[in-house]
Amino acid sequence: MANMIKATVLSILLFWLLAVIIGRVLGLHGNEVDLHQVLANPSWQHWFGADDLGRDILARILRGVEVSFLVALGVTTVTMTVGVTIGLLAGFYGGKLDKVLMQITDIFLAFPGILLAIAFAAVLGPGIFNLMIALCLTGWVSYARLTRAQTLSLRNRQHVLASESLGAKPLRLMRYHIFPLLLPVLIVEATYSVASIMIAEASLSFLGLGIQAPNASWGAMLRDAVRYMLVAPHYVLLVGASLMSLILAINLGGDYLRDKLDIASSSANEI
């Protein structure tokens, strides 16, 4: 079972990676307007058909893959760094600092789902950079929570106490004695969050808050595709299926890592 999952995940990810690279090598950017091909069905010329401006859907999907993956990586890096730092400080020092920091995370958690990201993106104005800021502003909370909980339980482990009694400073304790033990949990969490940020990016772009035309993004493509669903159902189906395959692969990859790294229930993705 585990091997099958691993093989599926790897082949889907490899497929998209190769497709993106080949697209790059061939110089596809999916911005060529061809009005003879408006909403054309899949053909040899356009494997996934063409969109409402006659642009090649496959080329635009590949661009969408690239953009959404880069956004997800960027946002994950920032939110993880910030969240882990805050979580470490709160869990390590405890007391008032912990109380204040956790109260702040509580407030952020009081906004359901991506509502807060939508709100931030809305006031910051549309665009890929603002979209990333909006996702960063809301994304650090789960890392902070997770790290704090883990740090609390690691704080009083023997090796930490031993090192402390030998005179190690808090920074050293956190960096060399607590942080390395957090890594497995964080890696798994980061994998899931890449997938969820890709969904969030697509949601925001769907609402017109993300990447702006003419650049391709999954959310914006889906929005157009829904508009032309009656005449060109292949558009919405192919864009959606591509997105889903990638999300699915990343999530399954997360499951695989979780089993491999033997992490007990901790992530929001747990049953």
Binding site: Q103, I104, D106, I107, F108, A110, F111, P112, G113, I114, L115, L116, I118, A119, F120, A122, V123, L124, G125, A195, I199, A202, S203, F206, L207, G208, L209, G219, L222, R223, A225, V226, M229, L230, P233, V236, L237, G240, L243, M244, I247, L248, N251, L252, I271
Partner: protein, 302 residues
């Protein structure tokens, strides 16, 4: 209990501060962004005055709280309609949608979860679990269009979108209920499996009760307790999930109002929508917490 109440109010206060600050996050001059560059000086000043943007931040916050306390959410800068007026039709529409989705989620999720738990370890269980785990990751902007395509466009059974026919609620509710049913399936399965290992189930079996009575009367009653929490927590998420679903299906709820207000840069409406959804979420979660304590005798002293 007291500390929970305290936490509840600090969170509400934090939500108020954050939504209040939203409008101040607008880069540059919010008035110019809202009215466009061509707006006259007089119009700008009038709006600035109306929104109180020329006052110190703390005064503005005070005014904001004071207005809220009097049930005044401000007004749309374009149509001048009071936002409370807009909410009168929009909010119930969203609640209606969320409730129906919840019902669908429960009707599908709980029986499936029970089924999976009873077949634990067998292939039926694996199929149900794997499918539900992955379906819950299916974003609504993909599921919604597919349902629309199949049931409205191809089969023609249901209206494509809008709110004119009563049947129009079915597709958006299915879209939202789908992910929820997946979550409920997993929760019910886990919870029931846990309960089935308890002593009182063994006792019930030992005294010769039929398997059906053991499951329905003894196990399920205990197993459904955690579901209460999930239902409450998800109710709030459903309200947020409506943003995209309502947009896809042109359902005139609070989510669509939010999106429309963003497109028109009608920030007071945006602010009010965010506040309304967040407050509903916080209040529902708090009530769920209390309900859980009332329902579960073990929690009364915790």
């Amino acid at each position: 209990m007291i500390s929970r109440l305290f936490g509840f109010f600090t969170v509400i206060f934090g939500v108020l501060v954050l939504t209040f600050l939203l409008i101040h996050l607008v880069p540059g001059d919010p008035v110019e962004v809202m009215l466009g560059e061509s707006a006259s000086m007089a119009d700008r000043e009038a709006l600035r005055e109306q929104l109180g943007l020329n006052q110190p931040l703390i005064t503005q916050f005070g005014t904001y709280l004071n207005k809220l306390a009097h049930g005044d959410l401000g007004q749309s800068i374009h149509t001048k309609t009071p936002i409370t007026e807009l909410f009168k039709t929009r909010y119930p529409a969203s609640v209606q949608l969320a409730l129906l989705s919840m019902l669908i989620g429960l009707l599908v999720g709980v029986p499936l979860g029970v089924y999976a738990a009873l077949k634990a370890g067998r292939w039926q269980d694996v199929v149900v679990t794997v499918v539900s785990v992955r379906l819950s990751a299916m974003p609504v902007f993909w599921l919604g269009p597919i349902l629309m395509l199949v049931f409205a466009v191809w089969l023609g059974w249901l209206p494509v979108s809008g709110m004119d026919e009563p049947a129009a609620i079915i597709l958006p509710a299915l879209t939202l209920g789908f992910g929820l049913s997946a979550i409920l399936t997993r929760m019910t399965r886990t919870s029931l499996l846990e309960v089935l290992n308890e002593d009182f189930i063994r006792t019930a079996r030992a005294k010769g009760l039929s398997e059906r009575a053991v499951i329905v009367r003894h196990a399920l009653r205990a197993a459904l307790l955690p579901i209460v929490t999930i239902v409450g927590l998800q109710m709030g998420s459903l309200l947020a999930g409506t943003v995209i679903t309502e947009t896809i299906f042109s359902w005139d709820g609070i989510g669509r109002l939010l999106v429309e207000s963003i497109e028109k840069r009608d920030y007071p409406v945006t602010q009010a929508c965010v506040l309304a959804v967040a407050l509903s979420y916080v209040v529902i979660n708090f009530l769920t917490d209390i309900a859980y304590r009332l329902v579960d005798p073990r929690m009364r002293h915790a």
